[in-house]
């Protein structure tokens, strides 16, 4: 069910009123954002991530490609929506799923985690979430949940997320 405008404002208020919580979730519902646009953006992101990892890792990573996206899908499809896990939790969950039989080695997960932490970690963290939440799309109801990176200013509250 589409999130109401009031609910969106409540989430924003919750984040802005508590800077420590902003790391968790700042979500917005885009009313007219088409699924095709979101899919295209997510797929581009996946390809970029995969390309970077392929370049950085030895031959064992050759199984990357759709496998990586499939693993993400597998790992987070049924995730509880009542919690907002950290990046480490995300990667741990993904790692567990992958170790159950995926051809993608845990080294891939570590490499991706290292990539996130090595670069601007917050940006990459949100990018990773964006990648993951693409699979939360409800195609029947056109419900989208897009995790966005925003810049926040404010007197005395200069949190920067990118």
């Amino acid at each position: 069910m589409e999130r109401s405008f009031a609910e969106l404002q409540s989430e924003i208020a919750r984040c802005l009123a508590n800077p420590a919580a902003i790391d968790g979730a700042l979500k917005t519902t885009l009313q007219d954002f088409s699924q095709q646009e979101l899919h295209a953006a997510a797929e581009t992101l996946i390809r970029k991530r995969v390309a970077r990892l392929r370049h950085a890792l030895p031959r064992t990573s050759q199984s990357l490609g759709t496998t990586f996206s499939e693993c993400c899908h597998q790992a987070f499809r049924n995730r509880s929506k009542t919690t907002t896990p950290s990046l480490e939790d995300d990667l741990d969950a993904l790692g567990r799923e992958l170790r159950r039989g995926s051809p993608v080695s845990p080294r891939v997960i570590e490499a991706y985690r290292w990539e996130c932490l090595r670069h601007d970690s917050i940006t990459r963290r949100w990018s990773f979430r964006w990648l993951v939440t693409r699979y939360e799309t409800d195609s029947e109801n056109r419900r989208l949940r897009l995790w966005c990176v925003v810049k926040i200013f404010g007197r005395g509250k200069l949190w920067r997320l990118w």
Partner: protein, 302 residues
């Protein structure tokens, strides 16, 4: 609710546009702060009108009520609300509105002002003005709340643009169109905060002039201007310093474009001696009077 002052006309659908266009020209002043309580009377001739923060007079003590009475008898006061939260989807606070209405009733201004923003949601007080996504839904929420506010306070309402702490990826309407639609649909004037506009233009990297020229010029009633400071490569509208050259330039552009009724200098932090305040007020007045005397068309098409 409000006694019939010369500048206040009955709210009527056909007369709606006349309400905004018939507002008086007040001149230039500044936002009243307690520190300047004595100074405003000493320098009375240098101050055309004052803006008061309405919230400061809610549940007023006897001393505060006397202060308001004294100020209103000696100055034209424009009440400026902070927390009505016209952009709140959950609605506005009845108690806050009632208190605001009482202040407007006491002061009897030609107009009053609030912000295009929300300050609370879900039971949480954000603590500062927060921007809205520029969507049809936001306009509907604002319209709904403005109608309630106008039912309680028939005095003409002008709305202020804010510094944007958030820009939403889902914005569907450009800012000039959003403001234009908001003002036209709700018959409100615009309190164009030139510093806020400049701050946004710097932080989000756009040219503010085309935006100004697309605003409905007949609805630009009052201006705010102030100084800010830089922190972490971000411009903050802190109201803590004199206005910068770029703000003065924008002020000049707006004055050439629209028949502005009043200009208020805002200073909230690091309050300087009154002479520094009045220096900026005098400079703004010079520009204001020059613009009025020019009676030339705007510098570009509106």
């Amino acid at each position: 609710m409000v006694a019939g002052a010369a500048a206040v006309v009955a709210v009527d659908a056909e007369a709606a546009i006349k309400t905004i266009t018939n507002l008086p020209h007040l001149g230039v002043g500044f936002g009243f702060r307690d520190r300047y309580h004595t100074d405003v009377f000493v320098h009375r001739s240098s101050i055309d009108f004052l803006e008061i923060t309405a919230d400061h007079f809610f549940r007023a003590s006897q001393a505060k009520r006397e202060q308001l009475d004294l100020l209103s008898r000696n100055f034209t006061l424009i009440p400026h609300g902070l927390s009505l939260s016209l952009g709140s989807a959950e609605g506005i606070d009845d108690e806050y509105l009632t208190q605001l209405a009482e202040i407007v009733d006491v002061v009897n201004p030609p107009w009053w002002s609030e912000h295009i923003a929300f300050t609370h949601a879900g039971g949480i007080d954000i603590g500062h003005l927060t921007s809205l996504p520029r969507t049809r839904e936001s306009l509907e929420v604002l319209g709904r709340n403005i109608r309630l506010a106008k039912a309680a306070i028939p005095t003409p309402l002008i709305l202020e643009n804010i510094t944007e702490s958030i820009r939403y990826p889902g914005d569907r309407i450009d800012e000039a169109s959003f403001l234009g639609d908001l003002l036209e649909e709700n018959d409100c004037g615009l309190l164009l905060d030139v510093t806020n506009l400049y701050t946004n233009s710097v932080n989000y990297r756009f040219d503010p002039l085309p935006l100004i020229w697309r605003l409905p010029r007949e609805r630009i009633v009052q201006l705010h201007f102030a100084g800010g400071h830089w922190q972490d490569e971000t411009l903050i509208d802190s109201h803590s310093t004199p206005a910068c050259d770029e703000v003065w330039s924008l002020l000049r552009e707006v004055l050439a474009y629209a028949d502005v009724r009043g200009i208020i200098l805002e200073r909230d932090e690091k309050l300087p001696p009154i002479k520094e305040i009045l220096s900026e007020v005098d400079r703004a007045r010079e520009m204001y009077l020059q613009a009025r005397s020019n009676k030339k068309p705007a510098s570009c098409e509106g």
